[in-house]
């Protein structure tokens, strides 16, 4: 989770060895990377002291399963944002993934699982090709696929009026509803995917290239990194993860509900940014994103704990968090620029 320094040393202008960093700079970097985890710990601590029903096993299980679907979407988004891009299509792709899983399961459980992965991966591929090779703005490309995927969903569900149900006994449904050691299967899948995500970002060429592309696309290209291929794969991954999350969520509720996923892309972006990933790319952590997702979910839970508070406040609190994080980030990166002459 500390790979954020990686790309900066690749640029000759930016080769500042760590012992010339001042203590303040190092602290700033630490806050940037670990801030969300510290805030999460604080919120959990305060909530545990304030509400009897908060620090219970039931509640922890609920928060874990409820966070898992957004977390999977946000994992793909983290990589895309680190590379300096954005993927707005994930909300629609998530909904499409769920509907396709419920549609595909009639032809067999494996079809129900693979169909969303293939179709959503293909949408990701379209995004990736247009962004990486077409050099179009990711913002516009993925906005177009956001609309397209929602249209496709409406087309295969009779304008959204057909909700296909999934058989509870089917193993694909159990992938959403089953539990293992007290935690839902989607939670274990999420943990597994995040573990893979950490390794990929920190230990592989692909992860390092992603950070480098986000730091400076031109510099990465000059160094001979496969910028276009790498970028394309990021969008494929994001599409597939969103499709998988949608399929798991459909399995969890045993039905391919058509009205889900609206605005999910914004929640995912919020979680990624709260997690300390720079919206401008080049720096970020997978673990921070997980903390960001949990933070959003815990805020919602705490507001439900109060019980009588209007849930509109949830958006207010989440929005305030986001604003503070972005302000702190921008302050810290400016401090970096001044301090390290970067």
């Amino acid at each position: 989770m500390t790979t954020t320094q990686q790309p900066t040393t690749l640029d000759p202008d930016e080769s500042v060895s760590s012992n010339t960093m001042t203590r303040a700079e190092r602290l700033a970097g630490l806050v940037q990377r670990r801030g969300s985890i510290v805030v999460l710990a604080l919120v959990v601590l305060i909530a545990s002291v304030s509400f009897d029903a908060f620090p219970t096993i039931d509640n922890a299980q609920n928060i874990a399963i409820q966070s898992s679907f957004l977390a999977i979407v946000a994992l793909g988004m983290t990589f895309v944002i680190i590379s300096g891009g954005i993927d707005l299509s994930v909300g629609s792709v998530y909904a499409l993934g769920g509907v396709l899983a419920a549609y595909g399961i009639q032809f067999g459980s494996l079809v129900g699982l693979l169909l969303p992965l293939v179709v959503c991966g293909a949408i990701g591929l379209l995004n990736g090709v247009l962004v990486a090779y077409g050099r179009l703005a990711p913002f516009i490309v993925t906005l177009a696929t956001l609309l397209g995927a929602r249209g496709l969903l409406l087309a295969i569900t009779d304008e959204g009026s057909t909700t296909r149900l999934m058989d509870r006994e089917d193993w694909l449904t159990q992938l959403g509803q089953g539990t293992f050691l007290g935690l839902g299967i989607p939670v274990w899948i999420t943990i597994g995917l995040f573990a893979v995500g950490v390794v990929v970002l920190q230990r592989t060429r692909f992860g390092h290239s992603t950070l480098a592309i986000g730091g400076s696309r031109e510099a990465a290209a000059l160094m001979g990194l496969p910028v276009a291929r790498n970028t394309m794969l990021l969008y494929v991954g994001s599409g597939m993860l969103a499709g998988l999350a949608g399929a798991l969520a459909a399995a969890y509720s045993a039905s391919g509900v058509t009205i889900v996923g609206e605005g999910l892309e914004l929640d995912a972006i919020a979680a990624v940014v709260i997690g300390g990933t720079l919206l401008t790319g080049g720096a970020g952590t997978v673990g921070g994103t997980l903390a960001g997702v949990l933070l959003l979910r815990v805020i919602q839970n705490v507001i439900n704990q109060v019980g009588t508070l209007s849930s509109h406040y949830q958006s207010v609190v989440s929005g305030a968090f986001l604003a503070v994080v972005v302000a702190v980030q921008s302050y810290l990166s400016r401090a970096h620029l001044r301090g390290g002459k970067r």
Binding site: A53, Q66, L88, E218, S253, I259, V260, L266, T308, S311
Partner: protein
């Protein structure tokens, strides 16, 4: 390098602008732009169950497997589905809260899923975890709430559903359903429209949001009944106005362009009807004379238009579920059987009664 950096704030600003646009468009979809005044539920507007429905299947504590409970000692949870941004949702939530206070419920927990299914699931699970002993749920969708219902089932917590019906087993997944008969609402609207047009004319339908049983039922009820009682009334256009006033206005403008000789408009909710009135007037038509408008809901703004003679009739869809929901819950929790399907008898606002009843509209 410098040029590249200078691009970044622009990209950020773009992101912010898009976020704002998305948020705005999401809001305007269901926003009430005034004219509701529904925050004061009149006492005369409480729901009444239809008497004819009292012989349906029932549910009691033993069948459901719950324990006897006194509401004044109970924690009750209410899960609202959509933002309280239109008169129906405002009146519904107000009514539940007011009745909870009136019955003296120890603690009423309220949540709002803001139209997100996953949030409604977690809201219900959170309330159960928080100690809710009975639940009133306004489902966002007929399917997909299974994990929430399972959580309630696991603790034998009775669930009463209101306004939208679940595709689930009554007295097993939930206790009973309270709501209007949307097909019947469509039928009554057709009867009023046929009367208004003298059984002959051209009618346009402003449909609600697609993929929603309220829309389907209100459409089918209207179309089938019209074909039966007034086959000479021709339905020449059916387009969705997504239950929103601005959308209703837009769609109406387009329909008048294409079909200038239209005689009647059936709007599947009041908001769209109010939008359609604006469109009709700006196209030089006089609503109530050239074109007859009938809608469903019974919001104060629309009933006032009936009083003013601009609309022919409004079929009520009563959102004040509080009294009936708590009465059902209390009956059930004291060990008596309750109906699995409790259909509400909705009023009809016409020029005969609108002036007297407008105070009861929400």
């Amino acid at each position: 390098m410098v040029a590249f950096r200078s691009l970044r704030p622009v990209r950020l600003a773009g992101a912010a602008a898009l976020c704002a646009t998305l948020a705005l468009s999401a809001c305007t979809k269901s926003e009430d732009t005034g004219g509701g005044g529904g925050s004061t539920p009149g006492t005369g507007g409480a729901q009444v169950a239809q008497t004819g429905a009292a012989d349906g299947p029932t549910c009691d504590l033993e069948q459901y497997g719950a324990e006897e409970l006194d509401l004044s000692n109970a924690v009750v949870g209410f899960s609202q589905s959509e933002k309280e941004a239109n008169p129906f949702r405002i009146a519904e939530t107000e009514s539940i809260k007011a009745e909870a206070a009136a019955v003296g419920v120890k603690n009423l927990l309220t949540t709002n899923a803001n139209s997100q299914l996953n949030k409604q699931i977690s809201d219900i699970q959170d309330m159960i975890n928080k100690g809710a002993q009975a639940l009133i749920v306004a489902p966002l969708n007929s399917d997909g709430l299974e994990p929430a219902l399972d959580a309630a089932r696991a603790k034998n917590i009775p669930v009463i559903t209101v306004d939208r019906k679940l595709n689930a087993e009554p007295c097993q997944d939930y206790v009973s359903f309270l709501g209007s008969d949307f097909v019947e609402q469509g039928k009554r609207a057709a009867q009023e429209m046929a009367e208004a047009l003298g059984n002959k004319g051209k009618v346009a339908i402003l449909l609600g949001t697609s993929g929603n049983n309220v829309t389907t039922d209100r459409t089918n009820g209207f179309v089938d009944e019209m074909a039966k009682i007034a086959p000479d009334v021709e339905i020449i256009a059916q387009q969705t106005g997504e239950f929103a006033r601005d959308k209703g206005q837009q769609v109406m403008e387009q329909i008048i362009q294409a079909q200038p000789d239209i005689n009647g408009v059936y709007a599947e909710n009041d908001e769209m009807a109010l939008g359609a009135l604006v469109a009709l007037r700006s196209a030089g038509k006089v609503p109530g004379q050239d074109v007859q408008v009938v809608s469903v809901d019974g919001t104060r703004g629309a009933v006032q238009k009936v009083v003013d003679g601009e609309m022919y009739a409004v079929v009520e869809s009563n959102p004040r579920f509080g009294p009936l929901a708590f009465e059902t819950l209390q009956t059930f929790l004291s060990g008596e059987p309750v109906q699995q399907d409790i259909v509400i008898s909705d009023k009809l606002y016409t020029k005969e009664n609108a002036a007297d009843e407008v105070g009861n509209a929400y």
